[in-house]
Amino acid sequence: MTNVGEEIPLTLDATGPTTVLIGQQADGQLTLRVMPEGSPVVGGGTRSGSALPSPAAAPPGPSSPRPAGSRTRVRPTSWTPGDVVLVAGSAVSSAFLTGLVLHVLSSSPGWLADLLTWYAITLVMVYALSREQGGTQAAIDRIVTIVISTGALLLVVPLVSLLGYVLVRGLPHLSLNFFTHDLRGVTPNLPPEQGGGLHAIIGTLEQAGIALVLVLPLGLLTAVFLNETSSRLRRPIRIVVDAMSGLPSIVAGLFIYSALIVSKPVDSSFFNFNGTMAAFALALVMLPTVTRTVEVVLRLVPAGLREASLALGAGRGRTVWSVVLPTARSGVTTATVLGLARIVGETAPLLFTAFGSLLINANPLSGPQESLPLYVFRLVKSPSANESDRGYVGAVVLIGLVLILFVVARLLGRGGVTRRRTRPTRPTTASLPTTPATPTTPATPSTPALPSLPALPALPPGEEPAMSSHPPTTMFRPEDGAPAAGQIHLTGGPPEGAASIETVDLCAWFGERLVLEGVDLVMPANRVTALIGPSGCGKSTFLRMLNRMHELVPTASLAGQVLLDGENIYGPGMRAQRVRARVGMVFQKPNPFPAMSIRDNVLSGLKLGGLGCSDKDALVEHSLERAGLWREVRDRLDSPGGALSGGQQQRLCIARSLAVRPNVLLMDEPCSALDPTSTRRIEETIKQLSQDVTVVIVTHNMQQAQRVSDFCAFFLAAEGEPGRVLEHGPTTDVFGRPVDSRTRDYVGGRFG
């Protein structure tokens, strides 16, 4: 139960990994301390990486923690001060040598020659000295490091030079005039402060805006189509999109010019030089880029999240809208803003479409329109110094615009789930246990709870409370006669109660390979059935056939029947979505939705499956309580689900599955990624769950199967053959008096 002292690594923003330390106050309330990585956890014994052997720096024992700050802390590095002196000295002396050779003994052909000679001599000197010190290998290594760093510098120098040059030329002449005037009546002999680029700014914003409106929905939907569906059209579309991303922007402009402006498909004044034509050309440039980048971002969303959403009974569209896109949101925005920055500076296609103008034309539908790149392009080529300075002012503004977009993109890119926090983490009345007094209480999603509830007893630190001693838990136990669960009404959900599940001659194929053959198994209602057996014997495939997740694999097929309370879930007219809402699933790896808070994670099944609920707060509490997580998270229901520890995340996933009140809960090695303490908590949870649902659990842990299950089935696949059920029955029999010798060997730990 207690997570006091537990450290939870999470990433709040791009400043680096952060650790949350959970503490507990005397009144039992949990406290959170957030600290950047590297801060000492007092008493936790973070060991400083001290390389100095010091008698005083004995390892801190748990009894007498010494403040970590008192130790000398070093980070081992490969560059010592001596090395720096060596390189710097070489650089200085080679500078003298260069001067001597090129300027005293001969005449230098130019500054570049000086620089190259100096660099070469420095390298030779560093090599010679380092070889003396540490041998050939070390010397080569040092030279390579210097050369690599120089390469990086070669990339920085032009960038700085470019920005510096444009700023130096343009900034002195930048005045407010630029943002308020166009070039009306401006002649080349007027100073560059006269006249302005308002018309260009208006044009750029309008053209880029129209292009964005055209591209964003189309690109987003196409990317979703490419990544989230299994249509046969994906291949040709992907090829065409890839091909078009190589379309030179000037050809896009030429195409619009030729196809729309010269040919005029309809005889209308609209098909002439104007801002919309420019936007069309820009859209052609932007569409393939945005589609491809968004597709890449979508591909990064873990497949486990999609599976979890589908397993909650969501459709494909719902999964994309509520799970995939929110998770990928920051990536999608970044891609879009960068695409926008790209077209804002695009010049070539505009030459053929917007044409350019000296005056303000705010109507993108008719008449030539200016834009910032066109303005700059035309003016800087002018022989008049005033005109070209005007152009540089435009370039400064263009740089500013691109930089703003760039910074916005990077800020959005580092943003994440945590930015959505809307409520404080401190305990509020709203997050205290809420149980509606009567069934007639209207849904109160975020209003404060009724004040009449008894306060929770403070938990003595370190004591492991049994779940049953905890009042809110007991009221969900049927025998206690306080069926709070019955007061939360779900509409559109599965029918009440646990259901039995039975398979008849079930077989599974992947492609042409038969992986599971002839499984006849009954999993009685309100019982825990464990599926055991070595890896690759088809347990997980079997489990995934029980809620129609098997068919998500494109090559998968099956034969036989799965009867859920007597009804074949593969029968005609059955919807996979509906089956999955009735048969929930918990996966091997915890997969809470990262874009949702803890509370929203629990309620996600309602949203995804389209269910209604009379009291969401009560449902959240009830579900978390059944999963054994309520006490740990009740104070921070609005923090992201991904910020919990692995064991808590898995219990959150269990709560999420329970919230839709499934009849059966499938668990695919739910504890294999967890530590023993979390495993024990989940096992306790499983035992309690069987009062409300039928549990089917796949496990590799024999002790776990013995501890939690009522029935047990042993799967085995002989070499080159499909998996079959060798033996099944009450767990005590399978473990205590196995009939088959292979079962005896397996449960006895002699193979597998």
């Binding site: 052909p109 130019g110 390469g151 078009m244 030179p248 010049t347 919807r575 979505q577 059920v725």
Partner: protein
């Protein structure tokens, strides 16, 4: 208890079919519609380009690909893409040759030398380099870099003039040369190549790197034996993608080159043209000349397409490129 599977009649094997809900139908309809729309638009462009380039191609015949000059104002107009194509390829090759070493070194710097803030800063700078409009590069090359380079060009041609393309004709000006255009375009290909190579280097399994270091190898030894061999496919593929970008570069080149088609290549002296730059300098044309420009644009597009295609093939075939998007 143990069960021996009995022989049963052959089973009916099915692939489960699902009844779709209305919302699922809306979803698949919308996304499929968007996909098809994109397919149609982009196919239309290709068809249109070919169609509109037709008149020029049929007027010139095969000589379109062997004629150096492109003079639409003559009667009858002389239409040829060879001179433009030579210039385009020259600029792109110079650009990529300059960019590859810098990119690989920068990528190595980011993945294996720099740490912490320095690494993040370098990645940001590479991204910024990619975000800056090519117009600004052209501007900087035109006004700042051009005047700096002639002394160097002179020195190179004096000492290395025996190499044919480095020769400079007597008295020819040294500004507006392929060399300058190539240098400026190389800056625009740098971020593309760097980010691909960096991504490939980052996929080197840490275990292999640590294995090399644990054997007592220096960092250079590790880079040479593990990282560089692993990233070879990515370096080649990334360079090809950079080449694709360099081929289509327009506005900087139109500022930096006089755009006079010619078949001889002296990269250090005045003169030269590229397809994209030439098109940009010929706005407002119509009739057969426009068709000729479209034909030239089509040639450029085919070239870019082939380069990009080969690049993604190399990247995806290489061991390192499996998970890299290119």
């Amino acid at each position: 208890m143990a069960e021996i599977p009995v022989e049963r009649a052959p089973r009916a094997r099915v692939r489960p079919r699902d009844r779709s809900t209305p919302s699922d139908r809306v979803f698949s309809g919308l996304t499929r519609g968007a996909g098809i729309l994109v397919l149609v638009i982009l196919t239309l462009i290709a068809v249109f380009l070919v169609d509109q380039a037709g008149p020029a191609l049929s007027a010139s015949g095969w000589s379109f690909f062997t004629t150096v000059d492109f003079a639409s104002n003559l009667r009858p107009p002389v239409l040829g893409v060879l001179g433009l194509l030579i210039g385009t390829v020259t600029v792109a090759l110079i650009a990529v040759t300059v960019a590859i070493p810098t990119s690989v070194l920068t990528a190595l710097f980011i993945t294996d030398v720099a740490t912490g803030r320095l690494r993040a800063m370098m990645m940001g700078l590479v991204d910024l380099l990619a975000a800056l409009p090519s117009l600004l590069y052209g501007l900087w090359g035109f006004a700042f870099l051009s005047p700096l380079l002639p002394p160097l060009s002179l020195w190179v041609s004096d000492h290395l003039g025996f190499v044919p393309f480095l020769r400079v004709d007597q008295g020819a000006p040294l500004i507006s040369s392929y060399a300058i255009a190539g240098l400026v375009v190389s800056l625009m290909t740098l971020p593309i190549i760097t980010s691909i190579v960096r991504e490939v280097f980052m996929q080197v399994p840490p275990g292999e790197k640590e294995a090399a270091l644990a054997l007592g190898s220096t960092r250079w030894g590790m880079l040479r034996t593990v990282v560089l061999p692993f990233g070879r496919g990515g370096i080649i593929g990334g360079s090809m993608l950079g080449l694709g970008r360099a081929l289509g570069e327009t506005i900087a080149v139109s500022l930096l080159l006089p755009q006079i088609p010619s078949a001889t290549v002296h990269i250090l002296q005045y003169g030269g043209s590229t397809i994209a730059g030439f098109i940009a300098n010929n706005t407002g044309v119509s009739g057969l000349a426009l068709s000729g420009l479209l034909a030239a644009g089509l040639v450029l597009f085919v070239f870019t397409l082939a380069t990009n295609f080969i690049a993604s093939l190399i990247i995806s075939r290489s061991r390192s490129g499996a998970g890299v998007d290119a």
